[in-house]
Amino acid sequence: MRRTPTTFRTLIAATILTAAVGASSTSFAQQTRDGLNPTGQNPTAESVNEEFLFKQDPKITGRISIPDGKAANLIQPAGRDYRDFREWWLPWLSALAVLGAIALLGLFYFFRGRILMERGPDTGRKILRFNGFERFAHWMTSSCFIILALSGLNYIFGKRLLMPLIGADAFGVVAQYAKFSHIYLAWPFMIGVALMLVLWLKDNIPNKIDIAWIKAFGGFVGDKHPSAGRFNAGQKMVFWMVIGFGSAMSVTGLMMIFPFALTDITGMQLMQVIHALIGIAFIAGILAHIYIGTLGMEGAYDAMGSGKVDLGWAKVHHDLWVEQEQAKNASGPQLGRHQVPAE
């Protein structure tokens, strides 16, 4: 019987002891959870942390002994945004731009049809629209553009669309040669853009006639053809698009051909984003140019094909230019070697 009270006392003592240890450990845990140690000090309060470093600079760099300074880059959070753009936004935006342009042109063709040449008294007679050098500059730039566009699209869509079709090995070879063509044909393309700027700048200065042309929707709506000089407002837009986009693509492209020469990793990412976005807009715009110069308008291709266009067509679409040419030709000395008198 004496053992029962003793056991009971022992049990109470053990319970009190356990509760006391538990209470003290809880208060200790609260202290350390706040980042404080039992002495009341925070040993990491003075240390440099990631948040502090990112307030100083958008990236964290270390110290290295090799001359490649960019290898010292440790953390660059902007790189994650860049990767998201390249892997998600860019393919979708590119598909939207390119397929959207093709769809719009298809709709335009479906509803408007091919713009046919209007037969008239001058139909069948020819007038020189672009001389040999102008056509050379156009074709050099355009043929390079097509290769650059296809190889550029391969950067975006190749691994997603082409590689599953032809396999990794074949895609590797194709992508390698596409990359070579992209880097090397960029140079004749840049020269071509510069040539076109010099050749056609004077005929592409915007003027009041362009406003009237735009107000009349360029004759695409209705049967009336607004007046135009050598280039109408639509062609001037294409010209300035080629010069503007071509220049931007050249600058950003050169920055990538010579990586890190003038900018750091953030600049390189920015250059690629600009290059890619302008590139897809450029492709969409040129698709419209190709359409109207070939399928969309009867007689338009001859301007860059043989260089000579139908005089009747020229009088309808570029009446002011025809008048100017006829005035020049009438005086004799300005007649070009291969130029056919329009009258």
Binding site: F133, R135, Y184, W187, P188
Partner: protein, 67 residues
Amino acid sequence: MKAFIIALVVAVALGTLAAALLNQQQRFAYQAFSTSGARVSDPAGHSNLVGPHWNGVTPDPDKPSKS
């Protein structure tokens, strides 16, 4: 057609010229970013860490060198 063919030929010629010039400027990373210090790898196969006459046998540190 003549202008088109000439344009293609000139484009390829300029591209080839660009390739030749760019490749002249191009250096391998181990050349562009190497220091004057010792290198542990031998990407070019022309030299190695212990000199051109190394016979591939690791010298025993306990034995005195012949040279």
